[in-house]
Structures are given as structure tokens and as C-alpha cells.
Symmetry: C2
Subunit: 245 residues, 2 copies
Amino acid sequence: MALGFLSGNALRLDGLIERLESAEGLEDLQILIEELRDSYGVDHIVYHWVNSNGEQYGCGTYDLEWVNRYVEKGYLRVDPVVVGCYQRFHPVDWKRLDWSGKAARALMQDAIAYGIGNQGFSIPLRGPNGQFALFSLSHNCNDTEWEDFTVTNRRDLILIAHYFNQKALEFEPGRTPEASQSLSPREIEAMTLLAVGYSRAQAADTLSISEHTLRVYVESARHKLGALNTTHAVARALSRGVIVV
Amino acid sequence: MALGFLSGNALRLDGLIERLESAEGLEDLQILIEELRDSYGVDHIVYHWVNSNGEQYGCGTYDLEWVNRYVEKGYLRVDPVVVGCYQRFHPVDWKRLDWSGKAARALMQDAIAYGIGNQGFSIPLRGPNGQFALFSLSHNCNDTEWEDFTVTNRRDLILIAHYFNQKALEFEPGRTPEASQSLSPREIEAMTLLAVGYSRAQAADTLSISEHTLRVYVESARHKLGALNTTHAVARALSRGVIVV
DNA sequence: CGCCCCCTCGCTATTTCTGGGGAGGAAGAT
DNA sequence: ATCTTCCTCCCCAGAAATAGCGAGGGGGCG
């Protein structure tokens, strides 16, 4: 086994990241991830985008069979890797997660049956608009070997995961932020106050204007944002970064 | 000027990250960030945590005077660096941001007057519960020099920023107080539907439940999120990454 | 000089949300 | 076996938001 032979090889990392940066589609990422797996000598590497709706998207070296089973069984919602990474910032060794749940243990057994490997290491990735993805490596070996591998390659892997996600964000299907008209300063102030819980009356008072005037701002902002109601407008403004709360 | 003399020095990076990992408080981070500034030979480095309540927190080498002015003037809400990074995943050169707004230009002039530097480079950082932070470098030099510096040190800086944020998350003041209250699946569904513009009646219909039941979810979610009304609750849920639109 | 956008204010009527209250069943955790 | 959490449903009165109609002054731009 060539676990981590790449370690410390700065040139190789540079080359990899360059190739990552010049990738032009999911197919390129798929090719790269397979090469990456071979270079690191691990069983599997997966980049896995978890949408809020439960939709999934990504690439990796898992068997299609396993991926389908994972989706069918709705493992996403009980997978300690996903849940654990969702609550953490730093990369995690799968061993350190909470596998005590019934569903979790069933998943683990199932995963091993599909040849996923007893060891794993996942890096949480977060982008704008609540994007959340995972970059995971899994392997079959003992604890010491895995510990050595993760300690040695941790930094490189963080970087690779970062560049991987950067690319994946570019390829995201259907994320076309319609050219929204920009809000006027007053509109932004009004929306911001509503977003922090003020009622229209309170917001108007805070801005020292009549409630009616404030309403005009909110209505105007709502139309500009193409929103159906105030709550929707605030949500859109937040998602688009028009206001910051 | 020793801009970027550290570049390519893997040993130095290793040492730095080790020291970062052994930091035990914000004071240590402050010391480290000052050393980092000297090592890189840039004018300023700042780690800046933007809390979902609009509170700010962090450390850096800016003058206290400027920091106070920034907060007082509410520059956070108009700063193209913050807004721009909020919508991006990859690090950004300040030059590439949109400085066309009136407030933005006023901010820039003000910043230069306080000796911030005409060049800048910021790395967006995102953690659990919608945490958002910035790791920024700023300097006074011409475009070419800055370009060289950022291209050379980009990867190291990403790593440093990552470890910096990891540490800062550990030191977060009110880390577990109310953030732990997680929403139930139904509550998340309800909030998500409201966030995309559904009225309560529509949302209830979509979920095939009575409007009353939906209301219970929304109320429950509102209490868990410590929100004053529905709009506020949706805003908080979005900011914390509990729901995604 | 118009034109357009921004800021400010007023009125009415209808619909929707808010904030309490209570109640029962199902599932999982201790 | 009990306890908690979640899901589901119901009532009511008052507060708030929405949709539509207005008006006028100020500033920038061609």
C-alpha cells in the first residue's frame, strides 16, 4: 500500500491544484478525483455536495450501486459523517464521530458490506448561500496507519478540498443569480431592520419616518427583489448578500 | 519591503500552524497575527468575525481608532469587502470588488486616510451555524507587486486563515447558548417554505397539514431561534444556515 | 427642460399573522 | 416504563401586513 506517498511533495500538490484550476466540467473533476485516489493510495475519495432539499451532486470513486443505495435509503439524514461535519469546521476522522445511533450503525454495516472501508476522513466545505459539501477519503487499514496518513496529509487535503469546492461551485447547475436591481440606501436600511426583528412601526420609528414611508421602501424593495411578501424579500436580500445580518 | 519573503518556505508555514494550533486565547492569536504581519511584510492583517447579530469580534493590526470608526459608521453593511466575500467562496483581491457605490467609495477614502493601504486580499471563512469570518491582508504598493504577492502566497494564506478560524471558533464567546436548539424536520420544512415566499396557508397546503399545525411549527421555530416574528425567524434561520434558499 | 429615481407623507379595506389557550397519538431515549 | 420530543388538530381576539389609490419636493442626466 502506498498510503500517502505524496506527502510533503510540494511540486505534486502544485501540479494538482493547477490542473484543478483548469478543470472545465464535472467530468474533469471525476478524472482528477480518480487520479487523486491512486496517488494517495486510498480506497475511495468522494466530493459530495449536499443540497438543503436533500438533493445530492458530486463525484467520487464509490460504486454507483452504493451511491444509489445511499440515496434510496435516505442515509444522508442519519449519516454521522454528514451530521458531524455539519456541526464542525475542522476536518474529522470518522472514528471520532458519534456512531451510537441505531440508524448510524446500520449505515456503517451497510457501508462496509459495500466495501467502503473502515477508516475515513472528511473535510466540511461551506460556500455562499448556505452551500455545504464534503470532501471525504476512506480506506481499509488499522488505526495507526490511518492516523499517520491523516496527520501527514491534512494540510494538503484541506487545500485540495478547498480548490475542489471552488471548481464545483463554478459548475453548479442552475445557480443563475438574476441580475437584481440594487436597493436604495433607505430600502436597505428598512430591510435590515425588518431582518433583525423590528415591526414596520418600530423600523419606521428607528428611521424617524412615518410608517407609511417605510412601507413604501419595503414594497419597493420587494418588487425589486421579485419577492412575494416581506419575509420572502428579507430572505432573498439575505441570500443575495444585499443586506447582512 | 519584504513583501512575501516567507513564500515557499514550508518549514516556516509548518511552525506557524503548529503555533496556531497551540494558541490558548484571543491574546495568542493577536500576538501571532502581528508576527504574521511582520513575516509577510504587509501593512496589516486582520481576522474579523462577523456575527449574525451584527456583533463583531476578532483581532488584527488595524489602529483601534479605525476599528472604532468602522463600527460606529456601520461600515460593515456597506463594505464591499464584506459584501463581496459574503457572496464568494474563493479569496478575493479588493481590486476586483465593486467599489462603485457611494457609501463604498466614502469608506475607501476614509480607510486610506486611516492608513489601511490601497491593496487588499481577503479570504472568506464559513463555519457551522452560519458563522462567517474574514481573514484580510492589506498593504500599500502597486498592482503588480500585490498581484505577485497574492499569487505566490495564496495557498499558504488559505491554510493559515483556515487554522486561524478553527482556533477562533474554539474561543467563541457564546458558543453553545442557544445555537444548540435545532429545528425539527417539520419546522425546517415550514420555515423553508415561508422563506421562499409561501403564505402560511400555502405552506400548510404544500405540506398537506392544517394551517394551524403549520403555525405551531413556525411558532416553535421562532421560539427556538429566539426571534421576534416570522420574518426575523426566517432571517435567523438563514443566517445560521439552518435553512437554505 | 423633461425624465427618472429617491425620499417623504396620507387614506381605506381586506387579508394575514400573532399569541395565548388546550389535546391526543406515535416514536425514541433513559 | 416513563419521559420527552415530535406531529397533528382546534378556537379566538387583537395586531400587523398587504393592495390599491393618491401627492409633492429634490437631485441627477441627456
